[in-house]
Symmetry: C2
Subunit: 242 residues, 2 copies
DNA sequence: GCCGATTTGTCCGTATGTATC
DNA sequence: CGATACATACGGACAAATCGG
């Protein structure tokens, strides 16, 4: 089942750029040309191009055209602003992923947990600790909190595989928005025990609140990353001056 | 001169949300209502709302409406996916900014620098080291590389104030895109000397390549942040399933 | 379960403004 | 100046999801 038209055009242009069918700094065909080649309206073309701009693949300039500024990144690593599960990320980079479940409990959010996670005090939660291996190396230690009445039927077996696959394919949940905060924190005893930190005494921490399609925050996760393998990519576009 | 219509609507809705004129989880007025209140077309409304979605302020749901998911963040710190200069960021948080210039030289990119920065080998560059203070505390150590034939007339005096103000107001350069990579690295002797790291032995590093409106990459900067004050916010939207 | 009203999502067409060359 | 290109804005049409009766 093909998706929306503008998504198809977006993906087609994206793969063309990735396959270097346009040179770095080259201008893409003009909107009017693209209207002809894809036989669609100008609006549709512009939506596709806007997505490429947001990805940092191209840059537009009024009166000039759309310039390809994509350069293949040697060290592709973590997502480019999207939401991607650990396994998806591993598959994309042709790496083997393994997950070890360290802890699987249920708890009720007290004031302290509520403040840290953003869940309402008194919420019933699943709390898990999971250790993610990439190509055999322990890289990420995750502390997951899930809202129990949304993520129903979660089991240790599922947690060892892929929770997101369960959420999307079994519970048919739509994941929509994720607010993330990145910091650097001192290591804890648990970090030291499971991650091979060498002589680093701190690690990269990504805290995220994830909302489903109904607007309820159903997940809070703190991902603690081994610093020597942590890399986070981002693309920023400057808003027009105030 | 007021800006574009959809930007005005975007900003108006944004401040209304920030001022909590809509409750958390409340639905905003429907598009048809907003068309009436702002007397514009549906397209214009939708552009404004799309920007709010990208900011993580609201979430849309087909058939339902537009839901406010903004929560005031206590620890506002670094940009939400935008490009912001150090001084802009400080002003937004009502803090005092000071910049010390440690080093101001010119150099030519050799193979090693070219590989690290992304500039072509042989490029003539300005290289600066700057130390940024916030409320009197040294927080960020910046290594800046600027393309000399684009950032013409750069002086130590300008570098001590705000380079971006010079670029935009004097050189009338439009900053458009910035590709950023965040990592955690071990501290160097320079870091140790200037930043008060305590017993941290590593720091947060943001490397960025910045492009101007003509599509030329004119800046490479490595920002080395003191970990205890580093915080990076981001909002991610899940693309529809493959 | 069905139907209709509401709401957002997608797509098309057109007109005008503005920057580049 | 004119041609080309992207930016903004308006209008309308239909699809898909949600909700209430």
């Amino acid at each position: 089942m093909p998706k929306m038209k503008y998504i198809q055009i977006y993906q087609d242009l994206k793969t063309k750029i990735e396959n270097q069918e346009y040179e770095f700094q080259e201008l893409l065909p003009s909107e009017n040309t693209l209207i002809f080649t894809y036989s669609c309206s100008r609006n549709t073309i512009r939506r596709a191009i806007s997505a490429l701009v947001a990805d940092g693949y191209v840059q537009t300039q009024q009166g000039k055209g759309v310039r390809n500024i994509f350069q293949p990144t040697p060290q592709t690593s973590f997502t480019i602003g999207g939401i991607e599960s650990f396994r998806e990320s591993a598959a994309r980079n042709h790496q083997t992923a393994k997950t070890a479940l360290l802890c699987f409990t249920e708890l009720t959010a007290d004031e302290k947990i509520a403040k840290r996670t953003g869940f309402a005090p008194g919420s019933s939660l699943y709390y898990l600790q999971r250790l993610h291996y990439l190509d055999g190396k322990p890289l990420i230690l995750n502390h997951n909190y899930f809202l129990k009445n949304v993520v129903t039927g979660l089991t240790p077996e599922i947690a060892e595989h892929s929770i997101y696959e369960y959420l999307e394919n079994t519970l048919h949940m739509l994941i929509v928005t994720s607010k993330r905060i990145m910091t650097v924190e001192k290591m804890t005893q648990i970090d030291e025990k499971y991650l091979e930190l060498g002589d680093y005494n701190c690690l990269a921490v990504v805290s995220s609140q994830t909302y489903n399609g109904d607007g309820v925050m159903f997940e809070y996760t703190q991902s603690r990353h081994r610093p020597d393998y942590f890399c986070f990519q981002d693309n920023a576009v400057r808003r027009r001056p105030l």
